[in-house]
């Protein structure tokens, strides 16, 4: 069967037959960089369009429908416009940090792509501490946001950045605890191992109620970590005009914008990997025929499909709920999510020791 895995393997084989080991490595690296950038651009364009369409339909309007068929190329047109727009740097800004910040946010988002398994056998870097790597590297982004807020020399930006800092640091805790509950069950930090452990069923089905609770907490935490409504404290346009990126324009703003969507994708991809079986198809117990049909659907479609469903969920939240206040946001984390996830972790640990899961 023609699958992505075979193509990649054949490509690798062909490379190693024709070139020396160093050249192969270089070619592979170039391919990976090209792949990452393409994925980045495509995801950004697709997700922004999706967001606008989802928002429009929830708000009983049509959304973009002028550029291309059904407005498909609206985001492309927007990108072209943003590229040609002048990137202003305010006089009062710390110019070096101001120009550096979007790239830090962007690079942090790009680096996190490395250990994510997009399909069976498609993974840029199968690191054995993959999940830990993702959580740690993705928190670098907050440095970029703080940098942007501070260096803009704008009080709204500063407030937005400080809010963002407080928020991401807090929600990292419950996100981490939710991840740990899966790590306890699988006994591994490697992304491959976690996905393989869901061969006979996704964790969300195997893990009983405690895992469902950690899934919900994890979804809430990634909504908060990606600074999306109802937790969009850092931007909060009705309060802080645009928060940390008030002073950014043109392509530098586009980078922030793109990074936000990539972060959403990564957050949801991680949730899919941990709880929904990554690229594993959906199987029901002993229904062999059904399972066989499910297997025919390529693994990449499974992975992207599940991720898009989760992303849709986040968009659904965004266009339904009002924004929380900053102190309520921190209350929610410290008074509700953290205690619940701690108790939950204990239950999961007991479950793992006693072997109560399937």
């Amino acid at each position: 069967m023609l699958s992505l895995e075979n193509i990649v393997q054949q490509f690798n084989q062909w490379l190693s037959e024709h070139f020396s080991a160093t050249t192969v490595l270089w070619i592979q690296l170039t391919a990976v960089v090209l792949f990452a950038i393409t994925l980045f651009a495509l995801l950004g364009l697709a997700l922004v369009l999706m967001e606008r369409k989802v928002a429009a339909y929830m708000q009983i309007r049509l959304g973009p429908n002028r550029v291309g068929p059904k407005g498909m190329f609206q985001t492309v047109a927007d990108t072209v416009k943003l590229v040609f727009k002048e990137s202003l740097t305010p006089d009062g800004a710390d110019k070096f940090l101001f120009n550096l910040a979007p790239f830090i946010v962007m690079i942090a988002a790009m680096l996190v792509l490395a250990p994510i398994a997009f399909a069976k056998g498609i993974q840029i870097w199968d690191i054995n501490i993959g999940v830990l790597y993702i959580t740690s590297v993705s928190s670098i982004a907050v440095i970029g946001i703080l940098m942007a807020g501070w260096s803009s020399g704008n009080k709204y930006s500063l407030l937005g950045a400080m809010r963002s800092g407080a928020q991401i640091v807090s929600y990292e805790l419950s996100a981490g605890l939710s991840i740990i509950s899966i790590v306890i069950l699988t006994g591994s930090l490697s992304v491959q191992d976690i996905i393989n452990s869901q061969q006979n069923g996704w964790w969300i089905f195997k893990g009983h109620i405690p895992i469902i609770i950690s899934f919900v907490i994890f979804i809430i935490a990634i909504t908060a970590e990606t600074n999306r409504a109802p937790f969009d404290m850092a931007e909060a346009e009705s309060e802080l005009t645009a928060g940390f990126h008030t002073e950014y324009s043109g392509m530098k703003f586009a980078l922030f914008f793109l990074a936000e969507y990539i972060n959403i994708f990564i957050g949801c991809a991680l949730a899919v990997t941990l709880f929904l079986g990554g690229w594993m198809p959906f199987h029901i117990g002993t229904w062999a025929a059904f399972n066989h049909i499910m297997d025919y659907i390529p693994s990449s479609i499974w992975f992207f499909g599940k991720t898009i469903v989760l992303i849709f969920g986040l968009m659904w939240f965004r266009w339904t709920f009002p924004r929380l206040r900053i102190d309520q946001l921190l209350n929610l984390e410290w008074k509700y999510l953290l205690p619940i996830s701690m108790v939950n972790l204990l239950v999961v640990t007991l479950m793992a020791i006693l072997g109560w899961h399937f």
Binding site: M58, Q59, I60, L62, W316, T320
Partner: protein
């Protein structure tokens, strides 16, 4: 007791959130409810209210005649000085002098569509039209002369 309150609080909160999501979900799946009007595209089918006040016009009949006597009631009624009437003296066939309008100048850029001039007009010579696409590149184009060239006052209107 504390734990029970704590949990019921969370359950209530989640319930209220799901209710809202149910509603947005309904609209997401029911595209019939969409109310967007695609304005420049639906120009041909656009239905404007007949009383809609877009701009002041002076209707002329097929003989290029209007009903304005130049009494300046509209000019006096206008709060913004939008209307300026310049009169001249026509000489009727009988040789009598008769007041008539030379130019009915209408400053659309000053008009607030308050309808007071139409109310004031004793001969119903002016009325509001439905036109609402008034944008022009030059501000001067908004100053209009409402009576057509060589137009006359209709017979029998005093």
């Amino acid at each position: 007791m504390f734990i029970k309150n704590y949990i019921s609080e969370i359950v209530q909160a989640i319930k209220s959130l799901l209710k809202g999501m149910k509603m947005t979900g309904y609209y997401f799946t029911h595209h019939k409810e969409i109310i967007t009007e695609q304005y420049p595209d639906n120009r041909n089918t656009l239905q404007l209210a007949e009383r809609f006040r877009g701009e002041v016009i002076m209707p002329h009949d097929e003989n290029n005649e209007h009903a304005c006597t130049g009494c300046t009631a509209c000019e006096l009624a206008c709060p913004n000085g939008t209307i300026k009437i310049i009169t001249k003296h026509d000489i009727t066939p009988e040789g009598k002098k008769k007041k008539a309008i030379d130019a009915f100048i209408y400053h659309l850029e000053l008009c607030t569509m308050c309808n007071l001039c139409i109310e004031a007009c004793p001969t119903d010579a002016i009325k509001m039209s439905n036109a609402f696409e008034h944008s022009v590149y030059n501000r001067r184009d908004l100053t209009k002369i409402l009576n057509q060239p060589n137009s006359k006052i209709r017979e029998g209107i005093e």
